[in-house]
Structure formats: C-alpha cells, structure tokens
Amino acid sequence: MIIADKKPIEEIIESIKDYSRILILGCNECVTVCEAGGKKEVGILASALRMYFLNKGKEVKIDENTLERQCDHEYLDELVDQVDNYDAIVSLACGVGVQFAAEKYRATPILPGVDTCFLGATEKRGLWTERCQACGQCILASTGGICPVSRCAKRILNGPCGGSSKGKCEINKDMDCAWQLIIDRLKALDKLDTYEELSPLKDWSTDRAGGPRKIMREDLLL
C-alpha cells in the first residue's frame, strides 16, 4: 500500500492561514491503515487546528469528512454540493488523492496534509517499510523475492556493493543490506547458483524515467 506520514502541523497552519472555512478531508484506504490520514487523524488534526485558531482569536470554521477513496471519481463526487462552502480543503490522502481532488474541484485550493512516502508494508503497528518503487518491470522472480530497486540504497542489480557489513547497509546500521537478504533467500531456496547470472541493463523507461505512466486496458474501457 501507499505509506504516508503526517505533515508537521506548523506547515499545515502556514498553508491555510489566509482561509477561514476549511474542510479536513480524510481517505479510508492506505492512509487509514498507516494511521496518517484516516477518520481518526482527520479528527485529531481538526481539533488541533480549532484549538490553534481559538487561541489566536481568529474565527475559522474547520469541518471534517472522510471519503472511502480520493482516487476515484465516484467517491470524490460526494463533495459536489459542499465544496463551495469552503475556502480550502486539506486532503489527508496520498499525493494521488490530493491531485485527483484538485482536478475535480478546480476553483478550490486542495492542500496536502500528509507527505506521501513510499509503497510499503506494515511490519508492526507504528513501523512501515518500503518494498516497491513501481519500476514497471518486476524482477522479483530472479532476486529471491527481494527487490534491490527499492531496498538497495544504490538500486544495484548485481550486488552487494562493498558497503555491505554484517548484513547491514553502509549508509545506516539499522537498514538491512538488500543483497544480503537476497543471498540468504536464494540459499534458502537452494538457488544460490543463480547468483552468478548477470542481471542485464535495466529498461528504466517503465520507471519514472519514461515520464508519467499510464495503463490502458482495452478490455475494460467502456
């Protein structure tokens, strides 16, 4: 899923300081699971902002709403009748949701309330780690199911580099060396002999390098 982190409240206050009618808009998908932008976080942020403006003696209306998703027309449409009631919307969805809302409601500033960080998993409550960079051509079949693109600090496809030390990456002792994990996994799968197969030059055109990506499925288009 998409992992996001809460923005510092000072940054949010700075972005909304000129508005007096504000909607805090949560999303019930990924950001709810990673506890950055769901209904609970909408409530907490809204309360904190109300308190802040009250202390400042400024009258600001802060409303709350959480949509099933912000990356789908169907759910964003629910705001059609309310959007004119606000000077700005703080979206706690990922960057996709913020942009999709902005595309739909063109005359209303849609401000991000979270930082969208990576595609990852919940290791345990309060700990999320990256697993995928959506490079568009999955190589996990040849790397023991561990992704060097997202998990090696140098994206090395023929690793490890010389900085692997006691299973950890040279840039951070708390970070596993992806290639140590790959080698351990290949060993567990009894496939360590495949380690010596050279990984060819990667086609990065399906990654960020190729520009904004799109998938069009003729069989599904209406």
Partner: protein, 310 residues
C-alpha cells in the same frame, strides 16, 4: 601474451611483470598543479595511476580532466568511473571523451553513497551498476557500438578493471562475485586495502580453486597507515575494512613519532609476503594524501625499477 588494448598496464601484466599502480585524488578546486605535483612524486615508481571519481561523494575536480592532465604529462592514467552520478548517456560520452585522449584504462565502480559526502540531499543515478558499466565498456570496445546499437567511429580501446573487496560481507559470495565481475568483463582487479593477510590468502586460495586467477589480473590493494589513530578509524568506521587487532596493537605499541615509519614497515612486509601468493599479479598502492611515500614503499618492496614495455 597478446594484448587487446594499447594500455601500458595491460602490456606489463601480459609480459608477466608484477604491476604497480597507485592513485591520486583530484583537488577540491580547480588548481591543476595539485594533481601535477602528486603525479610527479610517483611517476617513476608506478606503471599507472588511478584518478578517483569524487571519492566518498565529496565533490572534487572531475576524474576525466585530471586523467587528461596526467596523460599530457606522459603518465598512464586509470580513469575511475562511478555509476552514482551519471546515466548511460553520460557514461558512454565520458568514455569517448577519455578515449579521445587515448586514456586506455578504466576502473568501473558503483561509488560511495552520496550520504557520505558534501551533497547528501542530492539524487543518485545508478542507471547502471558497476558490472553493467564493465559490460558497456566491452560493448563499446569489442563490438564498436553504442548501447543504442549505432556504430562508434573510432571505438574506445580501454583495459577494463573493477574493484573487489575480499573482506566484505557476505564472505561466502566474495569469490562468486569476482567470477561475476570477470564474466561482465573485468580484466584487472584492484582489491580493497589488505591488512588481514590470512583472510586475503584464504580468498586467493578460493580464487585459484576456481581458476579465476588465470582469467583476471589481481592487484593487491595496499594502504600505509600513518598512525594508530588512522588504524582505529579504518577498523571501526570504514565499511568493508578488515584491520586485525594485532595491526592496531603494533602501531599502538610504537612511539607516536615513529608510527608513520612503522606503518610503512607493515605495508612493505605485506607486499613482500603477498608477492609470493600465486595469482597476485601486482600491487595497488593507495597512499592517501601521502603520495610522497610511494617511492619508498615500491623500492623497499623490490618492485623498482619499473619495467619498460613498448
């Protein structure tokens, strides 16, 4: 033995001599005299000189420009090139630029992570990795083609090398990794600094067991320690460095004013011992900001005068 490139380093190795290389770090500025002076200190005692490429990710004068300086002075440069800062267009382009000055050696590296340097907020590139850069050099040299498939007018003729760290983890794939670099096109290897001679010899034994010493010229990496402080720093702080306790102790037991000389002694003893290891084809003497000591190390190790090849 037939050589594939005009590289002096390749010729010396092909003639069966123990090769000696060294390295110079370019300055953090644009004064060419820095590199010229460093090169002057070592030029008669080494066969070729590596020019580092923004090592430890500290921004410096570019390796290519410094290599050109050396070439114009009649030295044999080894262009170090990291994949951290350039995509495949820039890598190929710089290879051609180097080739236009007949720089005939390249060392293909991934490069230290940028978080160690002066631009930790910057992007890294890693379009290719070091093995894929080796493949690229061969593609350009042997097929005379760009990666995109077009012919190269006057292809580069570079002797291609790579680094190997016999001490890095996981140890079990260190030899497999060397085999992989050879398969990618490594013709010479410069190793990480060797202080743990026993472990290095064990690695060389495994290298010989697979016959890899016949397929690649391994130059053993040697770096003199200036002080016990440096030894402790390398032991504790430098990733992938194996400094045994007895080396630290030997320097610690030496009076401070004599530690530098003892560091040179350790280094010379290492070379004398490793000269006898089958498969070691030479030495890469990295005297970091201490280039003036290279002649003494080379002479005392019985590696002087350097051979003359056509």
């Amino acid at each position: 033995m037939k050589t594939k490139t005009p590289s002096k380093l390749e010729k010396i190795l092909a003639a069966g001599h123990l090769a000696v290389t060294s390295e110079c770090g370019p300055p953090r500025g644009s004064d060419p005299e820095v590199i010229i002076k460093k090169a002057g200190l070592i030029r008669d005692h080494v066969d070729a000189v590596n020019i580092t490429d923004n090592q430890t990710s500290m921004t410096r004068m570019c390796s290519l420009a410094a290599c050109i300086r050396l070439k114009l002075l009649g030295l044999e440069p080894i262009l170090q090139m990291v994949t951290r800062d350039r995509n495949r267009i820039a890598l190929q382009s710089d290879i051609l630029g180097a080739a236009s000055f007949d720089i005939n050696n390249i060392l293909c590296l991934s490069g230290d992570h940028q978080s160690f340097g002066d631009c930790p907020l910057g992007q890294n590139v890693h379009d290719l990795d070091s093995m894929q850069l080796l493949q690229t050099v061969h593609h350009m040299r042997d097929k005379g083609k760009f990666l995109g498939g077009d012919d190269i007018a006057r292809p580069p003729r570079m002797f291609a090398g790579a680094a190997a760290n016999p001490f890095a983890d996981p140890f079990e794939i260190r030899v497999a990794r060397l085999a992989k670099k050879i398969a990618a096109g490594a013709e010479f290897i410069q190793t990480q600094c060797i202080y743990n001679l026993d472990k290095f010899e064990k690695w060389m034994g495994q290298v010989r067991d697979r016959g890899l010493h016949e397929k690649v010229s391994i130059l053993a990496g040697i770096t003199p320690m200036k002080s016990v402080g440096m030894a402790r720093y390398m032991k504790k702080r430098v990733p992938g460095m194996d400094v045994p306790d007895e080396v630290v102790k030997r320097l610690a037991d030496t009076p401070k004013e004599k530690q530098a000389a003892e560091g040179i002694n350790i280094c010379v003893e290492a070379i004398l011992r490793l000269k006898e290891v089958k498969g070691v084809k030479g030495f890469h003497v990295m005297a970091i900001e201490w280039e003036e000591k290279v002649p003494e190390i080379v002479e005392r190790s019985g590696l002087y005068p350097r051979p003359v090849v056509d």
